[in-house]
């Protein structure tokens, strides 16, 4: 099952990943991290993630640390 791992402490809330995901699986959450940023969350109830790693390639702050495909 394809999925991503988000390091919440690194997220700076630029939301580039939200626009990049072809399946729109990354959403702005209601949580705030230690930097005071409203972080993103990975929401994939129907297992639609392609494992394309476009979000991780786009993320400028290494907040998406791992991507698994398959």
């Amino acid at each position: 099952m394809s999925h991503i791992v988000i390091d919440e402490k690194r997220c700076k809330a630029c939301y580039l990943c939200v626009n990049e995901c072809p399946k729109k699986l990354i959403k702005i959450s209601n949580k705030t991290n230690n930097l005071g940023n409203r972080i993103v969350e990975f929401d994939d109830p129907e297992h639609e993630c392609l494992g394309c790693a476009m979000c991780a390639t786009r993320c400028p702050d290494l907040a998406i640390t791992e991507v698994y495909k398959g």
């Binding site: 099952m1 394809s2 999925h3 402490k9 690194r10 700076k12 809330a13 630029c14 939301y15 580039l16 626009n19 990049e20 940023n37 494992g51 790693a53 476009m54 991780a56 390639t57 786009r58 993320c59 400028p60 702050d61 290494l62 998406i64 640390t65 791992e66 991507v67 698994y68 495909k69 398959g70």
Partner: protein, 248 residues
């Protein structure tokens, strides 16, 4: 069984946290450099000469030996390091103000001499760290804190096209301009950085990559809008492509 298709490059320091502004493309560029060092197996054999500007903190992020050069003189320092240690891999990571303004002489003459070095220049059309002043690559008409009515030709002259100038030098083995505005272009940027590293490893000459990057903070834009500006305003002036490649 899921296979891992992305992980943090091993050349980056453990638990690294970038000091860049939200949405800044510097983070992507540093990661691409680290990925190339990983893939070429260079981490243990690399020395970097770092610059002044937003690019200054490279040694805080990548786990390699580094020497801090005076403003603009990264390639002059790198020349000394490489000549004293010809078996080491030496590269610089600079901004456009550092590379093309205060360091223009050192940068161009490194290319003219055909030093076996690799240089990466991040072009965001402004001086990012000091608050968005007019730089050598600022576009015509662009409003900055020191050009409040926009850059005009009579007063400020024309923007510098770095990759083309470096390509004119006979000592240059590879010169390209890439962009980080989209995922496709990020992948091309990585290929160009790798090529610039490889020409040094083969001892062919000077390897150079100019990377078009966004500066959402000083452009007063959202990260998304900043990438649209790179696409719509910068890329028609600073055309992407490989300007010189002696291995092709």
């Amino acid at each position: 069984m899921a296979t891992q298709v992305f992980s943090i490059p091993k050349s980056l320091k453990k638990d690294v946290k970038y000091s860049f502004c939200p949405g800044c493309d510097h983070g992507v560029a540093v990661r691409l450099v680290a990925e190339c060092l990983d893939e070429l197996g260079l981490k243990e054999n690399t020395i970097t000469a770092t610059s002044i500007g937003c690019s200054v903190g490279l040694y805080d992020f990548i786990d390699i030996d580094a020497i801090e050069a005076p403003h603009g003189r990264a390639l002059a320092v790198a020349t000394g390091v490489k000549r004293a240690n010809p078996d080491k891999f030496v590269f610089t990571y600079q901004g456009d103000g550092d590379f093309a303004s205060i360091g223009w002489a050192e940068s161009m003459h490194s290319a003219f001499r055909g030093e076996k070095l690799s240089a990466i220049c991040i072009n965001n059309t402004t001086y990012g760290m000091t608050g968005g002043q007019l730089g050598p690559t600022t576009l015509l008409g662009q409003v900055t804190t020191t050009s409040p009515t926009g850059r005009n030709i009579e007063y400020y002259g024309y923007p510098v096209k770095i990759a083309e100038h470096i390509a004119l030098s006979e000592g240059t083995a590879f010169s390209a301009r890439v962009s980080l505005d989209s995922v496709a272009n990020i992948r091309k940027a990585k290929a160009a950085i790798k090529k610039a590293f490889e020409v040094q490893m083969k001892g062919l000459g000077f390897g150079f990559v100019e990377i078009l990057s966004s500066c959402p903070t000083n452009w007063r834009m959202s990260p998304q809008q900043a990438h649209e500006r790179v696409r719509n305003e910068m890329m028609p002036i600073y055309k992407l492509g490989v300007y010189k490649d002696i291995t092709a």
